[in-house]
Chain length 337, copies 2
Amino acid sequence: MRDSTPAIHLRDIGSFHVGGRLQQLSGLPAVSVTLAQGGPSRSVDRNGTLVTGQMYVQRYLQVEPRHPLPVLLWHGGGMTGANWESTPDGRPGWLMHLLRSGFDVYVADAMERGRASWSPWPEVYESAPLFRTLEEGWAMFRMGLPEGFSVTEGLRVPHPGQQFPIDAFDRFAAQWVPRWVGHEAATLAAYEQLIRQVGRCIVIGHSQGGGFALQAARRWPEQIHAVVALEPSGAPSHAVSAEASAHASQHLVVWGDFIQQHPIWSTYRTAVDTYMRAISETGARVDFLDLPGLGIEGNSHFPMLDLNSELIAQRVVDWLKQVSSTAEQGQPYEVRA
Amino acid sequence: MRDSTPAIHLRDIGSFHVGGRLQQLSGLPAVSVTLAQGGPSRSVDRNGTLVTGQMYVQRYLQVEPRHPLPVLLWHGGGMTGANWESTPDGRPGWLMHLLRSGFDVYVADAMERGRASWSPWPEVYESAPLFRTLEEGWAMFRMGLPEGFSVTEGLRVPHPGQQFPIDAFDRFAAQWVPRWVGHEAATLAAYEQLIRQVGRCIVIGHSQGGGFALQAARRWPEQIHAVVALEPSGAPSHAVSAEASAHASQHLVVWGDFIQQHPIWSTYRTAVDTYMRAISETGARVDFLDLPGLGIEGNSHFPMLDLNSELIAQRVVDWLKQVSSTAEQGQPYEVRA
């Protein structure tokens, strides 16, 4: 099982929750349940206090980091930090690439997802969550056309040249989590707490997390030295782009393939590219890694999980090294309670 | 920020999901939502296929493990693997202690919790989940008596000599996740898949996870060399204890303090201790770490998070080293699809 890839030397692996608040529930009827094997049943009072709005963050700190700023990894909608750990077919994820490249890394599970926990509705959240089906994910993540997927018929026909490890698509779906609509502001508030706690940093965000990363860079450019938006599904509205000034974050936007075959992605991309052009015109550095345009074809919506994920990770790391030469290490400051 | 504790040298950090199955939903009405910032609204078809019953596992593999068998960490009810990572007041968790002690470590998020994801009800699960309030956790986790806790009055009066870092109790509650009743068999099935994939191992389980660990040791003693049940909230029924024979797992049970002040814990403990005596009589090795009996006073239901967590970790590691001398490294075998 030994391989020749370099080992990583860590002084700390740990985690913490940031953000959130206490919320009290009252007026709910009690329920009677048996929770322990062979134990007695007991009455559970659902009234009382819950924590809501918090975010989970796992940190990996190097013995000798080779870069002045840590990287924060922000997953997309209906996902968790597991997206960055291993590919569904068992290859090392971008977490390992970044650790082997010498960065300290912080992996977030955004509010309501994964180890961040979530809250009941309608008592706390306004509505029920959405569960992404394999059918929806197949098309939305640009694995192939909708008619190329059928569980009952055992059909998995990907786009020609698809880089996603299609045999592991069903296994990938095991890591999808429910998501809610209308929680963007609360999620961004938790990300703000994270940035305050970590200090000056680099953010790599994917899909919805790429949109959050662009928002965060617009709001707190003094904290975010550089932002990598990997297939961002949204961007700030143009009206505020004038805020992106001489001290703006440096931006890299990565796009995969098959966008024209999926009209919703053409729409998303147009909105993002319009925003990127607008802030570029104010003087912010904006670079694009348009993979098909560079002759790197076949990438899905998940370039960090595709078969050429290591190649793309290396391109991103090369860009980070280039823009990190101007970085100064920030001092963490206290989280507001 | 540097400290003098030894660094850890890892060849791999990664994760995977095990267990679970595809389930198809039909007959649900579509909903219209806007999921991407600034994007158009779109109709979401909730019908289709979901993965359900899977478990998430994160693995940390040493460059040079100093023990032949890996340790599997199984959290308790309403918790996730975050329990093992850091204490709520920011000290290193048992994950770091075990890594520094030279073990390969696998941290699970059991079915329905954390990064394992969860499924909708009543479409897949039979019932709604339970959310543990701070008030319930305060008493259930033996922080203090119920009347010593009040959010509205700002009251946090712990048991005298309490080892849990009480100032971090509210922050600890940020990592609690919802739980369902009646999922024990499905959860144990996912743990079986994990054990099949990892091969011969040591299991450390806490609370509900301690009960699962005792169940697993009874069912698959040839796979589980040793089991540490940390404050187990349940045990197998006695009737099957005859199965614990000469090739049984070796058992260590750890109990904290304040059990007599919390009648439900007296009940749970009596059931567990009765089972342990029964399997001991069949010849299985059963050891107890009764902390107050050893003069180590004040531990809550979470010895791995208490202020003396490192001391208790060291006692457990010492026991593991003692019983590991008879271990042989197992060969992983294929997971059944």
